[in-house]
């Protein structure tokens, strides 16, 4: 009796695993297939390095790749110190009730819809940036990166907290008993021990920043030129997809967004493999 039940359960799980993994592969195949005519015509590499000028027949996505790169990298620069401070406060400095409350709050923040961040950015940050620098509309790389940085901070903070929590208590006690101050404990014990877990957090947050659509769409200005400075507008790959998707379905513009999809897909895949590899390396070392 139990045997049959187990068999059924096993098969069901196998089926759902197969279904979800084959859907992942199917999506990639679909994007490559749909983008194929344009990729063949212009060449995949050419698409990656050419500018976007549909009227001249150039459907390159180079400006969007640069835009995505700049905005997500800058957002990491914003999020990293914020997350480090938050997580250190939660994990070591704050008294128990405060740290518990803060943690709940940050968990809550990961659930806030992106559009809210975009909204707040438009109403609070955009006018401020416009006044402060007196250059352009305030919709620029910097604005998008700041808001995106704040948006990915909770994710990163929670990862940092988890990796701090995983440090064996005995290491901390050893350092304390040897006369380490709080700062020394952080620098010489906590950070070196948590390095790999923290890197995982940074990589996943980067993945979130690259994959996010709305913040950049609402705040980066969506210009198709390669941005010359952080105060100039730019367009990300995801925003580009969202903007072009309304175009005629047979047009090369529409086809080009599948190239964007492939680039994004490959990027997230790379991130996932990197995280896997790092956790594997960590698991093996211990």
């Amino acid at each position: 009796m139990k045997k049959i039940g187990e068999l059924v359960a096993e098969r069901t799980f196998l089926l759902s695993a197969l279904a979800s993994s084959s859907i992942t592969v199917a999506i990639l195949a679909f994007m490559v297939f749909m983008g194929l005519p344009l990729m063949k015509q212009a060449g995949f590499y050419q698409l990656l390095v050419k500018p976007w000028a549909p009227y001249q027949g150039s459907f390159g996505i180079y400006p969007m790749i640069v835009g995505t790169g700049c905005i997500s990298f800058l957002s990491l620069v914003v999020a990293f110190p914020l997350s480090l401070g938050c997580s250190f406060l939660i994990a070591t400095i704050a008294p128990k009730p405060v740290s518990k409350g803060l943690r709940r709050l940050i968990e809550l923040m990961t659930g806030i819809p992106t559009v809210i961040y975009g909204f707040v950015g438009i109403f609070l940050l955009v006018p401020y940036i416009r006044e402060l620098f007196r250059s352009g509309s305030g919709l620029c790389v910097l604005t998008a990166a700041l808001v995106l940085g704040i948006m990915i901070t909770p994710t990163m903070t929670l990862f940092f907290c988890d990796s701090f929590d995983r440090i064996p208590r005995s290491y901390l006690t050893a350092a304390e008993a040897l006369g380490a101050s709080r700062t020394q404990k952080l620098l010489y014990v906590i950070l070196p021990c948590a390095k790999k877990g923290m890197l995982n957090g940074v990589i996943l947050a980067l993945g979130r920043a690259v994959g996010d659509t709305l913040v950049a769409l609402m705040l980066a200005g969506n210009s198709v030129r390669v941005p010359g400075s952080v105060l100039e507008p730019a367009r990300t790959l995801t925003a580009h997809i969202a903007l072009v998707i309304a175009a005629d379905y047979e047009s090369p513009e529409f086809r080009s967004i599948f190239a964007c999809g492939v680039v994004l897909y490959l990027f997230t895949m790379m991130v996932t493999f990197l995280v896997r590899y790092l956790s594997f390396a960590e698991g093996r070392r211990d």
Binding site: S170, Y171, A174, E176, L178, G179, A180, Y188, P192
Partner: protein, 232 residues
């Protein structure tokens, strides 16, 4: 045996989550001797050690009253005085735990770690101190060829001697040991007991131990805990 007093504990009470752990402990410890603290489990022996170097202060919901005075650098100082820096105190009152707790770094770096914390930057001086501490802990001959190996690759007994060496590298005046041999085999125990006897001339040792044989072998004075206080 000298009878000069090193540590004076007066009216010490300690509670954790409103549960009393220690009640009205009054005791003195003599300089340059080994004092064994014995008694059943859970009567506060380990807690008592932690009141001497203030290591309990990171515990939430713990509370202590009473005074602890230790003769440091020739004069008695109240350990809990506002002028007493806790990091300085722990450099002079070192501690070794029940389970060996090497840090996840090389043998050399483990021993040099307290020096690094103290702001020492001279590599030659540090190398000299590392060798000296390892020699004091009778570990030098076993590890001199592999100082860059991860300290966690050593055997349990070697790890515990490494921890003793690490505690000794700053030349503390008091060494607190919390059942340092309870996770070790007979041979390692003998090595560590011999080591402690050899250290007696330089410092004051307080040793929590359950083994009566060990206590009678190496200690000069025995202090017995029961019912949350000292009974003899």
């Amino acid at each position: 045996m000298t009878e000069a007093i090193k540590i004076k504990v007066t009216d010490l009470s300690f509670s954790y989550r409103d549960r009393p752990i220690l009640k009205n402990v009054n005791v003195d410890f003599a300089e340059n001797s080994i004092t064994a603290l014995t008694g059943p489990s859970g009567v506060g022996k380990s807690t008592f050690l932690m009141t001497l170097n203030r290591l309990w202060e990171n515990l939430p919901d713990a509370d202590m009253t009473g005074t602890v005075e230790i003769k440091l650098q020739g004069r008695f100082r109240n350990v809990y005085a506002p002028t007493m820096s806790v990091t300085e105190l722990r450099k002079m009152v070192a501690m070794v735990f029940q389970a060996p707790n090497p840090l996840p770094m090389s043998i050399r770096k483990n021993i040099a770690f307290p020096l690094k914390l103290a702001g020492e930057g001279n590599r030659e001086f540090m190398a000299h101190k590392v060798e000296h501490a390892l020699r004091m802990a009778n570990l030098w001959d076993e590890v001199k060829g592999r100082l860059n190996d991860d300290a966690r690759t050593l055997s349990g007994g070697q790890q515990q001697r490494l921890c003793i060496a690490r505690a000794l590298v700053l030349e503390p005046e008091v060494l607190l040991l919390d059942e340092p041999t309870s996770s070790l085999d007979q041979t390692s125990i003998a090595v560590i007991e011999e080591l402690l006897l050899g250290l007696k001339d330089r410092l004051t040792i307080l040793l929590v131990s359950h083994y009566l044989e060990q206590v009678s072998r190496i200690s000069d004075t025995i202090v017995t805990f029961d019912d949350n206080t000292i009974i003899s």
